[in-house]
Symmetry: D2
Subunit: 334 residues, 4 copies
């Protein structure tokens, strides 16, 4: 099989770095284009840990050049920036996995929670890149909206129980993320001294990932109560989810059946931990039931299953190759 | 005022150390007796950080000697051990603040969740040492059951909203604790490598602090869904609590009124963090409401407000001195 | 005894916060003036952990107002800023403890490593605030230059061995500091993700604390090889020091004799650790000798013994009160 | 090419786990035998993070079975245990990479620092598995002694400068290691609370890795002053090395020339950090010179370059395949 040329736009951030790490040794994909908005720098300047491993020039993004050089592009950009780039790129023949929020939501939901959308035609065509839900649609799509990290861990944990939950139950999602989820930009909030030996909620009940979760579990926004917290870790995401069920169920058994053929989901007999999925594309899930309340706990690596390795699975699907190709399964443990 | 002689039984653990640190410079209390079950060692051997600060012999516990030397004793012992010591001590004239679970619960609840109780008469007489609820009873008690760490943070967060919550609402308590809460004993679970860069739930829906919370918010056990998690920090505890309310309320205002004269509770305008209470007796609380769901977030230092400094407040009350005497208000921040 | 009015200029940083924490409960000092260069904000806005503990307005610095309100001022400012403020203040009758580097070095050394000095007359008069070396001079001084953190830990470790070291030995100082030493300002270097699970040297052999150490151990700059490293901790500083000695010596015994009456130095029988001094003004020291090489290990809290609590000792001395007054001896352990 | 059957003895520890992780996807090696001293358990019980990734039975070690099933064995065992196993295995036709200290040192040095040696004939034949020094000898060896972690980072940093250092200079090695280096066994020293926010030296000037370093840089033990420190990190090792040189040299240039064709050594222009090598087999080295003192800083992943991935390189060499086969080059950053 010939190489497939792919590119990364937005290579300076953490998810850009993770994409690079996944693609360097990919069996079929070849990194043919790496860009940021500014460009003009060597890759090893931005990511010194890749010195002598992989080197290239980082370009200032140009839609025509990107499309010329690549069959598929990963966009690891802030929302709003991304839809402008996608709009430009849609004039060319290039497939896109977009890691921003710009193509994940229905128009009105998007505009309520983010901003005006400038690329409505492509929003219509985009497919939500959660393979367990939309594997076939992804495979035939040219524009995949890669899910948010919190939604990935939440939707995969909720979905198997939709038929068991009490009508009108509130779904409580108490989520915890490592600091890399806040991005590479420095602020008082991401200062080592602010994070170390600390823990707190933020955007309580108002985070923009709540409507994304609601949309893909087919519930009203008002039934999802979502509160994220910041963990003193670099990576990792844990979602602790609570809902009322009609009667006490064998939650582990339901999970096992639901995900029986899924390669990127593991059902665990004890509460899941973030370390066992760090460095992998796994979503680990545990669940237990008592007094009519179901507790589901799911863990992912926020930068991989929550972003870059999930993007790679989507790209594999879109290009017709094995979805597991070069996807990481071995955790960083210890 | 003359000194009041006090003693610590169970001085080797973290809460024992915290008691020592609080008592060394106490204005009225004098440490006259320090014991462990084994004894026979200098204090600075157990706690090298106190070298040249405070030194004494650690005795093997003897009820008669303890009672002879002290007017009040702090017991920082495992449950079951503690009730045997209290039983012995009750033949003498000495007041007790017991940091174990042995005198916190009603008999049947205790025996259901722990073990047979061997000291029922004293269980009858004990007072639950949460000053905001039982200040007067504590002041006239000779045996105070110091609350658990999770119950302290949970009850203080729930109590103000009891009149606002929906009849029959489930109360979800998603709690997170630093590792010191697991005690000084080494195990695979407390190994640095197991905790660092990790996070997970444990004892999901089955932890023994749930019935303690239920008892003191006057609800059925089955209405409290409690899941604790282990944080990669030494200290700190955060409780994220969810309940349904009849209508959206001004939660901050309700908290402020409820705790208007309480010196050890602070109401915050933004989600609370554990670092701002680390090293203090404060319980910081934040709350917000949306779509009929109330989210309350409370933070304490698990070793202080969750154990030793709360024990000191109780001792102050029992001995008729200012409850704030030598209680820490200044956090370890940064 | 009446209160002594003191002020803090530069209250927004970590050392400013530590000064506030030490002064809030000081027996004699009263915080009468708190300023930053900008001013115009409530203290609890800058330091939320002090909410309901201590509140005041933060002023924009004015020399006349500061001098009017205070008998003694702590300046917790960047170098260069500080000497301009001291110069202004020297027209008034107010004592100063300056935490910057501006008054620590001889003129030519200062100008070689920092910048031109604009306040030479006061530089002449200043006393280096290391109590173990200059207790009497400090007591009669009106301007004390508070030592740097690395120099404090290094000089106290080297000084006792000056008579035992080989003539012309190189002194190697391999130093490690927690991140709070880099200040509150955010940068890529202090981002949580950059520090966590990481460790590296910086300013190898070129750090400006080297000449400060050299000056106060009376050696040529070229004989001090100083390399600092950044630790993934908030607080703490460890100096590992190596030098050649004429013959193997009983290093612990020499340390014990040298510091026999010093309240802020502890000699330990095993290698010192930073946690046992965290939160205190202690400098813990251990030493051992083998094959003609002496290894000395000293530990301090970089923000306290390395800055604010040492400043408090100096202020106590300057105002004629007990040097230990309100100085912290009890570590944050665990 | 056919598969080469390999085995791991001592699979329960951290280095055993790292070997498994490296071998699972190895192009030529096939894991055919996994053992511990006890055996009788499934692999996923010992290492839950490998669930659904790789599963097998863990056997109780038997020399004959191991030799029957494998062409090459990795022994990840404590010293003393290892030499007994090697002795037994030497009756069979199987190559061995031994990760213990048992075959690294000359007999008298070993017996001075460890214990009596029971397998002297094999000690004679063993080759020290540092590829940069003994690549050819390794390739033709049947028993490779995999170097210690501290020696690996130290020797690689010192070796290039042997011709430049002052005759009779002392070499100071101030080394820092993450906690995984202390092994998986729990103790008070490895308790999270003991390590977190802490740092200290241990075995100062008396650690058993000092003679190993001395032997392979061809110096007398008394000229190596080695002090290791414990870092609050899981992985990583940094060696800060100081020596006197005849004259100031272009240290970076010397390093670059010395390691010009070495795939596992990187020369950096700024002080190296442990994160950039975490997860890889790289040894990163930086050096600088001032006033006749040379400072060299080297960083490795203590579990990989300091143990398991170096063992893999040795195995690759011994089996005649590309030394870089399946060796990790991409760091865990961020």
């Amino acid at each position: 099989m010939n190489h497939i040329n792919v590119g990364i736009v937005g290579a300076s951030g953490y998810t850009g770095l993770e994409l690079l790490k996944l693609l360097i040794n990919h069996k079929y994909f070849k990194i043919s284009y790496v860009a940021t908005t500014e460009g003009g720098v060597k890759l090893s300047r931005l990511h010194p840990s890749l010195s002598e491993v992989f080197e290239c020039d980082i370009e200032a993004f140009s839609a025509s050049e990107a499309a010329l050089k690549c069959e598929l592009l990963f966009l690891a950009l802030p929302h709003q920036v991304s839809m402008n780039y996608v709009k430009e790129l849609s004039e060319y023949d290039v497939k896109i996995v977009d890691l921003s929020a710009d193509y994940r939501l229905e128009l009105d939901t998007y505009e309520k929670h983010y901003c005006l959308h400038v690329d409505k035609p492509n929003l219509q065509k985009s497919v939500y890149g959660l393979p367990e839900l939309f594997r076939e649609e992804i495979a035939s799509s040219v524009l995949v909206a890669n899910p948010g990290c919190y939604p990935t861990a939440s939707i995969l944990a909720i979905q198997p129980f939709l038929n068991y939950m009490k009508k009108d139950t509130q779904i409580i999602i108490d989520a915890k993320s490592g600091v890399s989820g806040a991005g590479k930009k420095c602020s008082e909030k991401t200062h080592y001294v602010s994070i170390n030996e600390n823990h707190h909620a933020y955007a309580a009940l108002t985070h923009r990932h709540a409507p994304e979760i609601a949309q893909y579990v087919n519930m009203s926004e008002s039934k999802i109560s979502f509160v994220p917290h910041l963990l003193p870790t670099t990576r990792g995401m844990l979602c602790s989810i609570y809902m009322s069920v009609e009667k006490d169920i064998d939650a582990i058994e339901i999970l096992k059946e639901y995900y029986i053929n899924e390669p990127f989901v593991r059902i665990r007999q004890t509460p899941v931990d973030i370390k066992s999925v760090g460095g992998t594309n796994y979503c680990d899930i545990f669940a237990t039931c008592k007094d009519g309340v179901l507790f589901v706990s799911s863990a992912i690596d926020n930068l991989l299953r929550g972003a870059s390795s999930q993007a790679l699975v989507n790209a594999n699907l879109m290009m017709g190759i094995d979805e597991s190709e070069s996807v990481p399964f071995i955790a960083y443990v210890p």
